[in-house]
Symmetry: C2
Subunit: 205 residues, 2 copies
């Protein structure tokens, strides 16, 4: 498998951490795409992913696969011998899916929208609404309070079990520094969890 | 299983269609929640779903499960004897996940944001940015062109196989009428696909 990615972007980091936790990182060839220079807008890239986003995996049979969680799903299903990060029983798989959606919709999306609409990083290729971006900052800030409360009685976001939800929340919070959103001093449970994930070998990749 | 839902809202419709395609609709008790009156904001509802959204499933062991796709995932995994709507092989599961994300991020989210930011339906409980909402309309409109092109050579969104992706795209496009986004006369492939899905028994539930 090859993965086209941008090493500094948060979604590719989620995939690298997922692969590292599976012990499969060295089986993948990574190819860097400079999104600031628009290398994701070329006809060759758009043929792989019409949505023009990184990461994109190319499977050994040549199939292109876009979307972070689709790539993680493929890796989980194709390697049942590795640690399960998307759950085992129907109920656990569903609760993980619920949390993955919560992290996407209530943390990653608002942080990403805040970045895109207030930084001007992609202003050559989108309309920016800074007031909306600022409102998204508030939404993400509020969600961190929810996470902090939840982690008062949980080691990981799904309780005792480390899952892809921890990876996604961790990578998003780490990325949120670009919009100056950080864990607050009083959010001690969230900070302890963040430090716990940050000590894993997968957090370094 | 019980499902708390709002019959007129698009996400509950996705779950009902999913259950109908599985032949499991009559095994579920549905309880209506009036979101216009704020019945989703009560302490009892928030205890089931801190994100205050419908639908929410309550499993037979009392576990609350929020998020449309988490409920669908539970149903798929708990009933392996029913038609598979989320794929079978690792590759098919991953391609379906890719498409589910595309429908969520590039169609359902912009249509929903357009509705929320331009209609004022939830103006008592959110900040509205109408210019951003209008921009989202344009994004959703563009994605319908992409779907139309894709359907030129495909019966369903994943080719020959009806999947949850068709359910989600169909329910979203049907809902998009609230923001006056409709399939255009020249989008003949998209219209033919829409009519094909609309003829299924599950489209009536």
């Amino acid at each position: 498998m090859k993965i086209y990615e941008t090493a500094t972007a948060p979604n590719p980091r989620r995939v690298r951490m997922f692969l590292a936790e599976k012990g499969l990182l060295d089986q993948v060839e990574f190819i860097q795409v400079d999104i600031a220079k628009g290398e994701n807008l070329t006809p060759e890239f758009v043929a792989m992913n019409p949505m023009k986003k990184v990461p994109v995996a190319v499977l050994d049979d040549g199939t292109s696969l876009a979307e972070t969680m689709a790539i993680c799903r493929y890796v989980e299903e194709a390697h049942p011998e590795t640690p399960k990060l998307l759950g085992d029983s129907p109920k656990q798989k569903a609760l993980i899916e619920q949390w993955l959606r919560w992290i996407d919709f209530y943390l990653m999306t608002p942080v990403g929208m805040c970045f895109q609409h207030t930084s001007g990083y992609f202003k050559d290729r989108m309309n920016c609404f800074p007031d909306y971006g600022q409102d998204c900052y508030g939404a993400a800030e509020k969600f961190l309070d929810f996470l902090n409360d939840h982690l008062k009685n949980n080691t990981y976001l799904l309780g005792d079990e480390f899952t892809a939800v921890d990876i996604n929340a961790f990578a998003t919070i780490a990325f949120a520094r670009v919009v100056k959103l950080r864990i607050k001093d009083e959010q001690t449970h969230l900070q302890a969890w963040f430090d716990r994930i940050n000590q894993r070998a997968s957090a370094k990749v």
